[in-house]
Symmetry: D2
């Protein structure tokens, strides 16, 4: 299929490469020349401007951008996609942004005649490279069905979450719970160890009991409990503290607009902000356990 | 085996019955005559006092009491177990109490020559009746091995957590994480639904993503998501709010003594205290989602 | 002086009336005809549109609007003030909005040649009627000096907080601390009373000790402690829960943009959201003490 | 008057000295010989044991001990005060302990025939030396009246808080509110400064507005705002972080026993525990502002 791809960063670059590998014809755009060059070497065509990409003969355009302000600018700006694209072209935004902004852009696309999906991902740069991302997709069922084969070239788990914006809703709700569970796991592990338990034994018990969660059984934050987790390699790699902080900002913003309390969610945001402010923004988000220094030295 | 059993409440009663059914000879004590009568009908022998039970020819005594003050009184009081029991008798306390108190009682037992295990359970009254409890056991390995067949008559999952007191440590750490996960799941579910998602779809996504936890995939607090959960029967039955509040009190107390911060744990305790104070102490602990009334009516 | 006044709501209406009473010639605009009529009866002139007001011969325009979106629209819109006003006219925005939006609008005004102040108020509708408001003012010193006599017709305490936007900064910082102190006072009062103290005696001790704060000594949330406080008249009147919730939203948003943790501030926001979601949004903000029902009935 | 004084630490030593200076005849006891020697040099008599002090001809005994366990041991132990003192001797405990323990000891004293007051202090070592402490006193009015002249030799502000235990209640309630206000002030100051305000200007505005509190107007935690505050001398001296942490532990314990939620109070305790665990336990409690490192470096 002829696909336009906009945004070739740490996530978008590998995702676009997987589309090329799957045999699609890609036209790409990014402000970074090296990022574009890498795709061109792999067989993609470069577009000079967003408008040029919009006016090319692609059937589908995928965007992967850092934040809502970029998504709004790229879609709604005077030189943006909707100003130049044909109504026949389908649109997929894989950026992680707040649900309200996603719905605002999708409403504009719909008014212009374009079918649009919001399809944020989870799985990190590793999943992007391996083509094993999870896509949480909002939009019409038929549009989802049509997009499925393309998304499957980049991911393994493709979930339809309901109408427009629901992909973003699912992502912020899941990631807020993830942050809460991770901090809770950090507290429970540190509490148990400070009271005399072996961390592996404690993790084993939790993982077969009602405290079990992804943060305890798949990504345990206590060093040495799981060889494969960032905790066992100095909290390098993985999903960064500042990315989690961004997602918690989206969750609490969305909650505010919905007038929905998220008490632990807001506290999790503040704890990640505190931890980031102490210079740890680049560490994996499971490093939050380091905020809990007490107990061991006394 | 000849076993003494002290404390025939909602949990202890069914546990003792399972021991009788498994062919053990029980001598029982409780302040409640009906509770004792039920066991006697099933084949047990009644002891008139704690001292009488201690002086009978039992090889093992199991206690199941409401709180640390009762455990201390029953074991350490002038008319208590240690004052009258032979050093040969092995002791198991299945009460849920703070680890420090457990270790204090076990040290006294050890000084008196008795081997003692702390073996708190999870699984609720349903698990007690069905004989499917989880036992988290602290004490010496040989003593654990010797007690295993007896514990297996009352439970399915018997875990050795390390030296004396570690059963209690494992329980408070697990249950604190459980409370945090439950509140986090409640917030994430309410947030998603208030932003337009179907609760079953949202739960399905979380349960295959990184937010997955026992509270989301086995005991979801949102009504209608899981037929088997208390949320789908008005939050009746299950594990009561006030019981969770008690366990959170044990966790934060133990954390204070260990000088270990448990930020979300302490907030969870306060939210359960607030919810209980609003008259909901008898509801299942997943009913905490009702504290989050906002979002829907606006 | 010839003054334009835009926004004649609960606060703006009485403020404009005080300017008329002080002898100023007012040209006013509001979407509500009754609100405009009241000012016209008092001697003001009505403008039909924002553009008409901007093009009239006023020397100064004051705006008092509900939220940042209205401020941006009124100042920056195609039919807004900056599109039609002469560069000689000075501008004062008394709305409470986030500092970043205030600075954005002030930068646009400055580019257009207009001197602009942000001057949010505290003191409520009572202070607006009595002309005893506090104005927290951001902008250049000379512009502040020039505006002082006009502001003194509406308020008693006029404080220069530094350059553009700092009026808003001072207001959100103060009100966030106010919310935290109020909840803290509610907790301390309820704790003391539940442990057996007389509320008046407790308040008296706190008010001469290190716990002393405006919420304890001027606006005590415990019923009966202070006859003049909303707590002693069913939490009617005063500063509404939903208004405090709005200000806490501004504070946490500004904190997020500044990457500054506000842990108690964010929790205060969530507690007010929870309380509002339980149907209490119209009560005075000191009613948050009602969230703490526990202790008394047990 | 002939007075016995037990506990000559950082607080008790200077308090006892002030009694000697006021002309009272003191008999003192402490485990530390240097502490006793200092009082003897000033004119006091040393007692060799608690029992000896109890059996001497004193009319009043004052105790100043670190924690509830010491108070219980000194009063209720086999070799303690109540075992040896005449019922005519009046008792005053100035230790800061939980209200329930205070009431337990006072009930035992009352049963033995002794009038007893709980009289915890605030004002720190500086106030102890200068004789300007605040005493919060629980007990009968007549006993309070009788003790007043003695207490006035050690303090400036002597407040009767109601029946036995209420001195402790007033202290824990006040200090919990103090901790919350201090953290709130730290957040508000850091928020304002990170958004561009001068800290002195911001403090000045808060101190004349509704955010005003002792922590902002008398003990501001931002360096340089108040020359007299610990913040302006590296957070040395003052009221230590670990002492505040102890008082927050008493407050949350008392709240738990009263089934009274203290949401911000519990979070304040956790933040002080976190801060202490990062190695700051000896700093003045206003140093908690250092936990909020964010905002400035980004």
């Amino acid at each position: 299929m002829k696909i336009g791809f906009l945004g070739l960063g740490n996530m978008g670059g590998p995702m676009a490469l997987n589309l090329v590998k799957a045999g699609h014809q890609l036209t790409v755009f990014d402000l970074s020349k090296p990022a574009v060059d890498q795709l061109v070497e792999a067989g993609a065509t470069a577009a000079d401007t967003i408008a040029a990409l919009a006016k090319s003969d692609v059937e589908l355009i995928i965007t992967m951008l850092p934040a809502a302000q970029h998504v709004k600018s790229v879609y709604l700006g005077d030189e943006g996609l909707l100003a130049h694209v044909s109504p026949k072209v389908r649109l997929i935004d894989s950026s992680t942004i707040d649900p309200m902004s996603a719905r605002e852009v999708e409403a504009a696309a719909s008014k212009h005649g374009n079918l649009m999906l919001d399809a944020p991902v989870s799985g990190g740069t590793g999943g992007a490279a391996a083509g094993t991302l999870t896509f949480m997709v909002g939009g019409e069922q038929a549009d989802f069905d049509a997009a499925l084969p393309v998304l499957q070239a980049m991911g393994k788990n493709i979930v339809h979450c309901g109408p427009a914006g629901n992909g973003q809703v699912a992502k912020v709700a899941n990631n807020m719970l993830l942050a809460i569970s991770m901090i809770g796991t950090a507290e429970a592990m540190n509490l148990g160890v400070s009271l005399g338990m072996d961390p592996k034994v404690l993790a084993g018990i939790i993982n077969t009991s009602s405290g079990r969660c992804w943060s305890s059984d798949t990504y345990n934050p206590y060093p040495g409990v799981m060889d494969s987790a960032p905790a066992s390699r100095g909290y390098s790699g993985g999903f960064g503290t500042d990315l989690m902080l961004k997602d918690l900002g989206l969750a609490t913003d969305a909650a505010k607009q919905a007038r929905q309390p998220v008490i632990l969610g807001a506290l999790a945001q503040q704890l990640y902000q505190t931890f980031s402010g102490q210079g740890n923004g680049a560490l994996d988000f499971s490093a939050i356990i380091k905020l809990y220094a007490g107990g061991k030295d006394e």
